[in-house]
Symmetry: C2
Subunit: 307 residues, 2 copies
């Protein structure tokens, strides 16, 4: 079933030990929708500037992603410049030019309103909440956030968490949000804020799914998915959003979101995150095939399963 995603569509200039790219297509909603598009229909809500042209549009079209919710505004698109020269796990930001994104007011096309799945990518929690409220009939809502909103926009973020089924954040973020260094206790605290499930991304160590865990269960309400040990991470930009796209895209493709479907979704998340890192920007996701995805899913199984 169709997913509507709201988030950024941007241009990124990226430098990693593998090289440098200027103004490649990026943004959380871009990575998310490309990754999710291998599993289900995806509809994007975003804003771009006049620099977003036919070439960028074609990237979405090639994956049959619905871009009617991408508003064209006067000015330039969101631009981010960052490098990973010292640490592939953490970007050093050199520039963040919000441009048209500064005045972003998400508008939900009428045609999107029958979407049963909603993904709130990392944007201002006030906007996340507004979109969520305007789509009361969705079946499952997942979302992302980041340290900036956790630290300085906590009240608004807490309102978003109340309306989320699934929150996907990284280790540092869950500890910051909960104010607890212990991952399990932090996860319990975050689940108490509203989300029914929490996916904590550990970068090269994979990800953990927590859902309504009772401390006495000693982990039975957890599930750990691996990341692929990679000989070369060309560009980690968008890996988390690609994880989210694979995870939520797979869930949305299933008739029921059973615990078993959640576990497989964690694997598909890892699979899509691993592909995203293999080339700069969205290059790898653009060229990907469903066959490659399925083969890598099998690899993830071999990497973790006893028999």
């Amino acid at each position: 079933m169709a997913i509507t995603v709201v988030g950024s569509v941007a241009f990124d200039s990226i430098e990693t030990p593998a090289g440098r790219r200027e103004r490649c297509l990026g943004g959380a909603a871009t990575y998310f929708s490309l990754a999710a598009s291998f599993f289900t229909d995806v509809r994007v809500i975003a804003v771009v500037g006049e620099d977003f042209g036919a070439q960028e549009e074609a990237v979405f079209d090639a994956r049959k992603i619905d871009t009617r919710g991408i508003e064209r505004a006067a000015g330039k698109s969101f631009f981010w410049e960052g490098s990973y020269l010292d640490n592939l796990n953490e970007a050093k930001t050199h520039a963040t030019d919000l441009n048209v994104f500064a005045a972003f007011e998400p508008k939900i096309p009428g045609l999107y309103r029958d979407s049963k799945f909603l993904f709130l990518a990392n944007i201002d929690p006030v906007l996340q909440r507004r979109v969520r409220d305007e789509m009361p009939d969705v079946k499952l809502v997942a979302g992302d956030t980041m340290n900036y909103w956790i630290k300085d926009h906590r009240a608004a973020l807490l309102e978003v968490l109340k309306g989320l089924d699934i929150l996907l954040i990284n280790d540092t973020e869950v500890r910051m949000l909960a104010g607890d260094d212990n991952l399990v206790k932090a996860a319990q605290a975050v689940l108490a804020l509203g989300p029914k499930a929490l996916v904590v991304k550990h970068g090269e160590y994979g990800a953990t799914l927590f859902h309504g865990a009772d401390p006495k269960d000693h982990g039975t309400k957890c599930f750990r998915a691996p990341a692929l040990p990679m000989e070369e991470v060309v560009d980690p930009t968008g890996a988390g959003d690609s994880f989210a796209g694979g995870f939520f895209g797979y869930l949305a493709s299933q008739p029921e979101q059973t615990p078993a479907a959640f576990r497989r979704a964690m694997f598909y998340g890892g699979v899509m995150g691993s592909f995203a890192c293999e080339r700069f920007g969205t290059e790898r996701l653009q060229k990907l095939t469903r066959k490659e995805i399925d083969e890598r899913f099998i690899l993830f199984r071999e990497l973790t399963h006893l028999d």
Copy 2:
């Protein structure tokens, strides 16, 4: 089949956020042999001082560990004092008194010489090599080391690696040993130094087994075992040695060391490491039952398996 282990038997004073213990029984060979003793017969080679008494001896006896290779020397036993107040993943060392360990000359009892499995715990690589050379008929040799030997005793350590079947070290150590920050490349480089298999321990994120991996295989020659998400880590001291004990103890208990046995051994390693952290020092390992181990093994499977 029986394992002979050479390493430290010590007293540790430990402070963690959960409290403080003075002079509890510790040392790599102690944790290793307690953990391995649940799977197979274990024989220890070590040296202790006059402070090692009936109470400590009883801990080994209760697990039917052969201590005839533990030499009693005049003086005090190896003593370590450390804390984990800021970071449960890394001990801050306050004191290391080698005492009788400074002049340790491992002597292999004749009765140990039919051991088919040998574990070289973290000691001077010159001594590791000597013990390994004196037991030419063992079937499988595994070993551990640490940053100190990697940095300042590299030549001696490289000699040890040539004679190892399995090296078990942590993330930081494999990167330091290989001089490469990428885990997969670092693992390849270490495997080229001699070991047929490498187990890299990632602390709370589990561990990865690399064996003769071809870069083109994209991880098919890897296996990732989880660690148990724990609500409270009482004391991480000895978790790595307990992992090694569970891993190698299980391998030694099997008629053949097949790839499937290696994968299960990775799980048993994680299981024993998780128990070790639940109480101070060796308290948890002393009270453990095989039933608890098997139950936790099932939990590890549920934590990672799709079906």
